[in-house]
């Protein structure tokens, strides 16, 4: 077996014409999936643009896989409509949807060779033999597995199996390719590399990719659009940058990154130039300022600050620099310092309120300071960096 590190990266720059497909978008309108009385997916309305790379992101059990399986046709739709392009596909068999799916753990046919695995979809659809030969050959070349075509899946490494699964799904020229946790079975270093290959493949083929993942790094690095899901609902849809810097709910803030979340009551909302400067009274801690689009005074809400957007100061330093009007300041005791390479993660407990917070800093910057575990420090952050979370 070949060493994974020396495996060829996807080499072909241009995809042969007969492997290209017209990309189609996917639209969901009020889609619901029920299993008896259990609602797995609730009233999802969503647009997946043609030719985009979209990730459904969420914890296990959030309904992301069910949503994808409904689009692929492996799960009935309880209520609502799904469109691919302009065609309503409710009730259409999976075969007639022009979609293809790459399964978690790949679901390669163990008794068939690599060639026959890739050929399967074409054979089932009754393509003439010479066209099957040409397309399978081209596809195997694209994924760099030409010399492995006689092997059985069990004789391949994890990365090679992954590429066979990808080739098998792509060879039928689907308009939408669905990927169910395609990287979860790979080890860390291969995962990062394969991530890049997937992105490149999507650009080359130009088709719509819809991926299910529970890993936010994967979603950030791959997607044009991220759909964050929780408890069968869509929580937020946005570009990776939007999801990362402007989460709209506590769940998204917690799930998509290292955010510190403070829950409380809205005490005032002042109209700024474009958005509102909102005051939240956090029980035990005091008042925090944050930025949001709209807030109802008196409502329960929260705000979130990214762990890397805070500034750490010694108490003496903090006394000298007065806290500005649009700055939040808390004092906290350092409980743990974790070195993770480029970034150092510092855990702290607030002196008032006792909440745990996380502070992230570039390791070179951390090393120039002299804070130690047990020390009480001040944490400052700008109100404009602090995101208002309506729910």
């Amino acid at each position: 077996m070949q060493d994974v590190k020396t495996e060829p990266v996807l080499a072909v720059e241009a995809v042969p014409e007969d492997l290209q497909a017209e990309a189609k978008g996917v639209s969901l309108r009020d889609v619901t999936k029920k299993y008896g009385s259990f609602v797995a997916v609730q009233n999802i309305t969503l647009d997946i643009p043609a030719g985009s790379y979209t990730c459904l992101l969420g914890p296990s059990g959030c309904g992301k896989t069910t949503t994808m399986r409904m689009i692929a046709g492996h799960e009935d739709i309880s209520e609502g409509d799904i469109y691919i392009g302009d065609t309503r596909i409710n009730g259409l068999p999976a075969t007639e949807r022009n979609t293809a799916m790459m399964f978690q753990n790949y679901a390669l046919f163990p008794h068939k060779t690599v060639w026959n695995n890739v050929d399967f979809g074409l054979k089932m659809r009754g393509f003439p033999l010479d066209e099957r030969r040409r397309r399978v050959g081209e596809m195997l070349e694209i994924v760099g597995l030409t010399s492995f075509s006689d092997r059985k899946p069990a004789q391949l490494s994890g990365g090679q199996q992954q590429r066979v699964a990808l080739a098998r799904a792509l060879v039928t020229r689907p308009q939408v390719l669905m990927l169910d946790e395609p990287l979860s079975a790979l080890d860390e270093s291969l995962r990062v590399k394969t991530r890049g290959e997937l992105r490149k493949l999507q650009r080359q083929f130009g088709m719509t990719f819809l991926q299910v993942t529970h890993n936010q790094d994967e979603a950030y690095s791959l997607s044009d659009q991220i759909v964050v899901m929780d408890h069968g609902r869509v929580d937020q849809v946005g570009t990776p940058a939007e999801i990362f810097s402007r989460p709209l709910s506590r769940f998204v803030a917690r799930f998509t990154g290292d955010n510190n979340i403070f829950a409380g009551t809205v005490t005032s909302a002042v109209q700024d130039t474009q958005s509102q400067l909102i005051q939240i009274d956090v029980p035990g801690l005091g008042t925090l300022l944050c930025l949001g689009d709209y807030a109802q005074v008196g409502s329960e809400a929260a705000c979130s600050i990214r762990a890397d957007l805070m500034q750490i100061k010694s108490l003496a330093e903090a006394e000298q620099s007065a806290c500005g009007p649009a700055t939040n300041r808390v004092t906290a005791r350092i409980t743990a310092v974790e070195f993770t390479g480029y970034v150092t993660r510092v855990s702290l407990v607030l002196e008032r309120g006792g909440l745990e917070v996380l502070y992230k800093v570039r390791t070179p910057d951390w090393l120039t300071t002299a804070f130690a575990e047990g020390q009480v420090v001040a944490l400052d952050w700008a109100a404009t960096d602090c995101v208002f979370l309506p729910h």
Binding site: H74, F109, T172
Partner: protein, 284 residues
């Protein structure tokens, strides 16, 4: 000490098993092999080296008995496969809960809950001249005369064997079907396979080892079978197993031994040819 022990330990561990294997399997077979070359008359047998016992097998009646045994084997094999595969498929793919699968699987073992004799006798009120089946057929006017072939016939023998041994076909096929990842079926459907194609391209090839193991069970059981042949055949049917038993009963040990050796060889040959066609290593 410990180094020597380390080298000897594996040998020590396999010694008891090897001894039992030699004493109770290899040695008896060798004995039978030796005896099959002996001479015998009505009263005694004498150590010798004669091929007469084997020559007898190729002549008329005995050879026909072999052919008859193959006929039973073929019919029972086809019947157990055609009935057993759908049953196993139903259990594996259409019974959703494990508890129900176990319960229904236990139902298949019901033929083993009573003794052979009782089971065979209970066929009589069902299949006999005045039995339930004949009464029903005559009552509905489908036949005028009671059907004679239902009991004490080759049909009855095959029926009895299928009833008794079908579980040996169902169990290995069920086992291999249960090992098929359900995502493979979904993947095949996703790639455009119809129900028939999913079965032909995915399920059947992946359950072939189960069919092979089931077939080996059936071959070994049917080739040596004599009880069902005697009870259900009512003296009308013959098989090699029954022939050997009769020969032992009349003290023709060398003849019985020769038949046993040929039967063993033929059975092994069939099993080897099954293994040549189907690879069962994955199931073991």
């Amino acid at each position: 000490m410990s180094e020597t022990w380390k080298t000897l330990k594996p040998y020590a561990l396999i010694t008891p098993q090897t001894l039992i294997f030699l004493m109770f399997l290899v040695f008896p077979i060798l004995m039978i092999g030796v005896v099959s070359f002996w001479e015998f008359n009505g009263y005694s047998m004498t150590p010798a080296f004669t091929l007469d016992n084997y020559r007898g097998i190729l002549t008329g009646v005995t050879f026909k008995t072999y052919l008859n045994t193959f006929k039973f084997l073929g019919m029972v094999w086809v019947a157990t496969l055609l009935i057993g595969y759908p049953v196993a498929y139903f259990l594996a793919f259409h019974v959703p809960k494990l508890e129900w699968q176990i319960l229904l699987f236990l139902l298949c073992t019901i033929p083993f809950w009573t003794s052979n004799i009782i089971r065979m006798i209970s066929w009589v009120p069902l299949l006999g001249r005045e039995g339930l089946v004949n009464q029903m057929l005559m009552g509905t006017g489908l036949v005028q005369q009671p059907l004679e072939f239902l009991l004490y016939s080759d049909f009855a023998v095959v029926l009895g064997m299928v009833h008794l041994y079908i579980i040996f076909m169902i169990a290995p096929i069920f086992n291999s079907l249960m090992r098929i990842e359900r995502s493979l079926v979904t993947a095949a459907e996703d790639l455009g396979a119809s129900g028939v194609q999913v079965f032909k391209e995915v399920i059947l090839p992946l359950s072939a080892p189960g069919i092979a193991i089931g077939s080996i069970f059936i071959v070994t059981l049917i080739m040596g079978e004599f009880v069902t042949v005697r009870l259900m055949g009512g003296g009308q049917s013959a098989s090699v197993g029954k022939l050997i038993q009769t020969q032992i009963g009349s003290l023709q040990y060398p003849l019985a031994a020769a038949n046993a050796m040929v039967l063993l060889a033929v059975t092994m040959l069939i099993i080897v040819s099954i293994l040549r066609v189907l690879d069962i290593r994955k199931e073991l």
